[in-house]
């Protein structure tokens, strides 16, 4: 049986009449990167807060690193977290802010310089937090989350405010942590980034889990598409007609015919087009992106 970093069953949080999270059930295996996605207000931060013992669930159960979420003191020393963006004391320097947290958690003060170096803030560690840019604040938040050398790292929108190279650095950092056995549970709106690194996904919509499982499983469930471009635009309708005659739904977008079909049907189409006197300039197989799948699934839910 796979050991789980996070496991929740029927987790629910109700504020008055409104359910911020409703009967959420999902698992996050140890040592993986799990993306936590959903539109704003879908319940991601509420879930993270419950996992960290900051708010009490209205119903359901859960465990983190094998311990019940009702006893966060048992697992939090092994968890690093950045929730809803970084929050530090503005009048203290970045290094001093980390020292406060290191004292609180009983971590070696030597970790502070090491982590500032790791997140690229070694030169600015002595500057007051209030003088930091958004990207620098974000980096300090990541450094704080890494203080305990965590077994589980929970990051809420860690790339907010970062420039492209910063985003790449965070992606590489998460990858290297996961390679060393750390489980990373990361919520992000940058679905392209998550698609690149997340082995599994938990998708929320209106406080409900609409998908929880392997990223590949989610993406492969989407019907594959062949994108076909004839040499001459006038042949586009004829290509579509060939595909439709063989039972493949086709949509014309721009200069290309988008044919719902398996990739191995491409040679058959190429032959049929050649026999009809049509030269195909290109045939490519397109796998739907996580972003497309996300919009697809969340719009299905709305319907």
């Amino acid at each position: 049986m796979t050991k789980l970093a996070i496991s929740v069953q029927d987790l629910t949080k109700v504020y008055g009449e409104r359910a911020a999270l409703s009967h959420a059930t999902f698992d996050v295996p140890l040592g993986t990167i799990c993306g936590f996605v959903g539109p704003n207000g879908s319940g991601k931060t509420t879930t993270i807060r419950m996992l960290l013992g900051l708010i009490t669930p209205t119903g359901g159960t859960g465990s983190v690193l094998g311990e019940s979420i009702n006893e966060p003191e048992k697992y939090l020393p092994k968890v690093g977290a950045m929730i809803e963006g970084p929050a530090f004391y503005p009048a203290l320097s970045g290094a001093e802010n980390l020292r406060v947290l290191a004292s609180l958690g009983g971590f070696a003060q030597s970790r502070v310089a090491e982590l500032l170096e790791k997140v690229g803030l070694a030169d600015r560690g002595g500057s007051k937090y209030k003088t930091y840019s958004l990207g620098m604040k974000q980096r300090l938040g990541i450094a704080a989350a890494l203080l305990p050398n965590p077994e589980l790292l929970i990051l809420d929108e860690p790339t907010n405010g970062l420039d492209p190279s910063g985003i790449q650095e965070v992606r590489e950092l998460m990858r290297s942590l996961a390679d060393n056995g750390t489980t990373v549970f990361v919520s992000s709106h940058l679905l392209g980034e998550l698609e690149m690194i997340a082995e599994s996904l938990v998708m929320l919509r209106n406080g409900k889990v609409i998908f929880a499982g392997q990223t590949d499983q989610l993406l492969s469930a989407q019907k594959p598409i062949l994108v076909v471009t004839p040499e001459y635009h006038v042949d586009l309708q004829r290509v579509a007609a060939i595909a439709e005659s063989q039972g493949h739904h086709t949509t014309i977008i721009g200069d290309a015919a988008h044919i719902v079909s398996p990739p191995d049907w491409a040679p058959t189409l190429n032959r049929a087009a050649f026999e009809a006197g049509i030269t195909l300039a290109s045939i490519s197989h397109v796998r739907p992106s996580l972003e497309e799948k996300f919009f697809d699934m969340t719009s299905e839910e709305e319907k």
Binding site: I83, Y89, L104, G105
Partner: protein, 264 residues
């Protein structure tokens, strides 16, 4: 709890807070003590409520701590502001969630912070006392005050007793500030309410309805600093009443703090 104490101490010793607070209370201490000694023998009021204290009275064993006692109420108000802001800012900065992730026991957070702020109050009171006593010695000659009894056994007894009483009162006002900080979760609101209540509302209430004076929390905490006797209220009455007020207040806010969701 010791880790919370260490973490909180790091925040409290930042120069902008520690130095500015110590400079402010030093200034007040030196000012109040100077007025007492420099106006001696002038016939003009030289102490609180427009009263006059003479060189003969200051030459007694308790003369050394007279100026120190005058600044006690302001030490209390300063502690109220520091305790309130240090507590409430965890909500306004959103840093409470960081604290709770690193130390999930909310009671340890609360008591660790209180212990660190109590140490801060101790340093502030000791420093203020030292400044006042130094000023008293420096100006005693100018006011023809005989200081020989100040360094007697009775003088040191008064010094110890006054320091303890002022420290207790300062911690009491600080605890009041912490209660308000936890209740309002905003430094500005909690300080405004605390200062308005202690400085203005209690004074008006006490003046309008003198029967309320023995029961007002701020007046009773201030009476501890005086060593009792203000408006005929005994020291022990003030000690017990302050303990009841602060105990009930702390019990209510710590229950709220323990149970309340941290959603910001």
């Amino acid at each position: 709890m010791f880790r919370v104490f260490l973490a909180e101490s790091r925040k409290l010793r930042r120069p902008t807070l520690a130095i500015s607070t110590l400079l402010t209370v030093s200034g007040l201490s030196a000012l109040f003590t100077s007025i007492v000694f420099l106006r001696l023998n002038s016939g003009r009021p030289n102490t609180k409520r427009g009263q006059i204290i003479t060189a003969a009275e200051l030459s007694n064993a308790h003369g050394m701590v007279y100026g120190f006692k005058l600044v006690a109420f302001f030490l209390g108000i300063t502690a109220l502001c520091v305790f309130a802001s240090q507590t409430a800012q965890e909500y306004t900065h959103g840093t409470l969630r960081n604290l709770l992730v690193r130390q999930p026991s909310r009671m340890k957070i609360l008591f660790g912070k209180f212990a660190a702020m109590t140490l801060f109050a101790l340093v502030m009171v000791t420093w203020t006392g030292a400044v006042s006593i130094l000023t008293s010695y420096l100006l005693a000659g100018k006011g023809h005050v005989d200081t020989s009894l100040w360094s007697s056994g009775a003088g040191f007894h008064y010094l110890a007793q006054t320091t303890i009483n002022i420290l207790l009162a300062t911690i009491g006002f600080g605890a009041l500030g912490m209660i308000l900080g936890l209740l309002f979760r905003s430094p500005i609101t909690s300080i405004a309410v605390g200062v308005l209540w202690s400085l203005i509302l209690e004074t008006i209430l006490g003046a309008a309805l003198s029967s309320t004076q023995p029961w007002l929390p701020g007046q009773n905490i201030a009476n501890i600093a005086e060593g009792g006797g203000t408006q005929g209220v005994s020291y022990m009455h003030s000690i017990w009443l302050s303990l009841i007020y602060l105990g009930v207040g702390l019990a209510i806010v710590s229950t709220l703090f323990k149970r309340r969701d941290v959603a910001n």
